[in-house]
Amino acid sequence: MNPISAAELTAWLCGSEAQRRQGLKRIYDDDNVRRKLAQWVQEHGGSKEEAEEVFQDALVIFDRNVRLGKFDGTGTWQGYFFGIARHGWLERCRRRKLPVTELLPAHLTEEAESFEHRFMEEERKTVLRQALEAMGGRCKHILALYKISISYEEMAQQLGMSSADMAKKECYRCRQRFRNFLLQHPDLLDELKDDGTNA
């Protein structure tokens, strides 16, 4: 497999749905990055399975950062990816419980806050997932396409709609559905907004 440059990869991840999948698969299949990361995680007390989890988490973050323009493409993508993965692993280590004798009051507070924060995050995700599932498959597809910033023309073409205007209307309708679900559950909405502010 030929190596891919940072510019090529960025173009893929910011491209169409198919291009994105192709780019993400190239990273996923990159044996060098995977092997190097697995070795590093194992050297730092992790297992092979944990290394795989760290790899997958890193890919999710890498994809998001590239789309949001946080990766400027000056270094290699492998270096940037590895940096994310390493940070992810250190974050995991920080969350791990230390033996009781080594715990200081500061650790206990940090651990408790971290647990609470993670619990809230999980709850938040659960509520959002419920809202997403309530929208139905087509709407989810439309919104996923919107989020990767493809034009309404392309969206219409891909989904077999008659025009870009139609795609825009559909997209609006789907967003309204999502919003309505949340508005129908004001308690959930308040929780989400509060968490969002605190996060």
């Binding site: 996923y28 997932r129 990767i148 909405l189």
Partner: protein, 294 residues
């Protein structure tokens, strides 16, 4: 939001959330926002929408990764054999499909042609007819073996749910897309590739009712332990006026609640009570078993 609520402003909010504004433009927009509490409320809602969309992309990627992981496990040589066999299978399927008389049920179908529903029949399943021995199916069958000697509600729920109880029964005159869907579904189930199954339910297949596809989706989500999402689907299906599918969805909802114990304690109790209150409800045995387990 009054006169400020125009399309341009809303588009700008989206651009801001999509990271399309450069640093200077973003800072200037933030300064404007600080002076408009009504904009902030709208932005908060939009932020949630974007967060949801981001989760969609993450979920899609994680599903893809599970799928790719499965592909990687397949030895390279065998993968080539599969690829080589695909055109042959396609050709064989095409000839078989052409030669099968339209009114003869295909060997794949386990349902007699006369009992297959037509569009005018008030049934809730058009093509998903190859059902297993479960409550709500047409054949009278002995009750499903309920789990024993399991320690946790999650283990009980997963064991009780078992195999997919709604499978496509395909006839010779079905559209090739439908046949392909049924084959892919069988293949993913055989490989226990639930992420692959989930992907299958993302595509619209002509001839399949949305409710049935959503049921399969909910089942795949359950298998992937994404219980909250599965719950949303089954809750919706349980509320629909599709008698047999309704019972199936109610059953899955029961186990989705159980798997999420103690978070869904109250909802589970309500559902069990609702089932047991009805005389000879098809799920009464299972509801009692759940109650006993709890």
């Amino acid at each position: 939001m009054g006169p400020m609520r125009d399309e341009e402003l809303l588009d700008k909010m989206d651009d801001y959330l999509l990271g399309k504004l450069d640093t200077a433009a973003a800072r200037s927009f933030e300064a404007e926002l600080a002076q408009h509490p009504d904009w902030q409320a709208e932005l908060a809602l939009r932020r949630l929408e974007h967060e949801g969309m981001e989760m969609l992309l993450e979920d899609n990627l994680r599903t893809d990764m599970q799928h790719w992981k499965g592909e990687q496990k397949m030895p390279r040589r065998r993968r080539w054999l599969w690829l080589a066999a695909l055109p042959l299978c396609g050709a064989a399927l095409f000839f078989w499909w052409k030669q099968t008389p339209a009114d003869t049920p295909s060997p794949a179908s386990q349902v007699p042609a006369e009992s297959l529903p037509t569009t005018t029949q008030p049934v809730d399943s058009q093509i998903f007819e190859k059902e297993k021995d479960l409550p709500g199916s047409r054949q009278e069958t002995p009750p499903q073996q309920l789990p024993t000697a399991v320690a946790t509600p999650l283990a009980f729920a997963e064991k009780a749910v078992g195999d997919l109880d709604l499978r496509p029964g395909v006839r010779g005159d079905d559209a090739p897309a439908l046949v392909a869907f049924a084959d892919s579904l069988d293949l993913t189930l055989e490989k226990k590739d639930y992420a692959g199954l989930l992907r299958l339910t993302e595509m619209a297949v002509p001839g399949i009712r949305d409710a049935e596809q959503r049921y399969v989706r909910g089942w795949a989500l359950f298998k992937l332990r994404r219980f909250a999402e599965a719950e949303t689907i089954f809750k919706e299906l349980a509320g629909r006026n599709l008698p047999r599918l309704q019972v199936k969805a109610q059953r899955m909802l029961l186990y989705a609640y159980l798997a999420q114990q103690p978070k869904r304690q109250q909802l589970l109790e309500n559902l069990v009570r609702q089932i047991l209150e009805k005389k000879s409800h098809p799920l009464s045995v299972e509801a009692q078993a759940v109650l006993k387990f709890l």
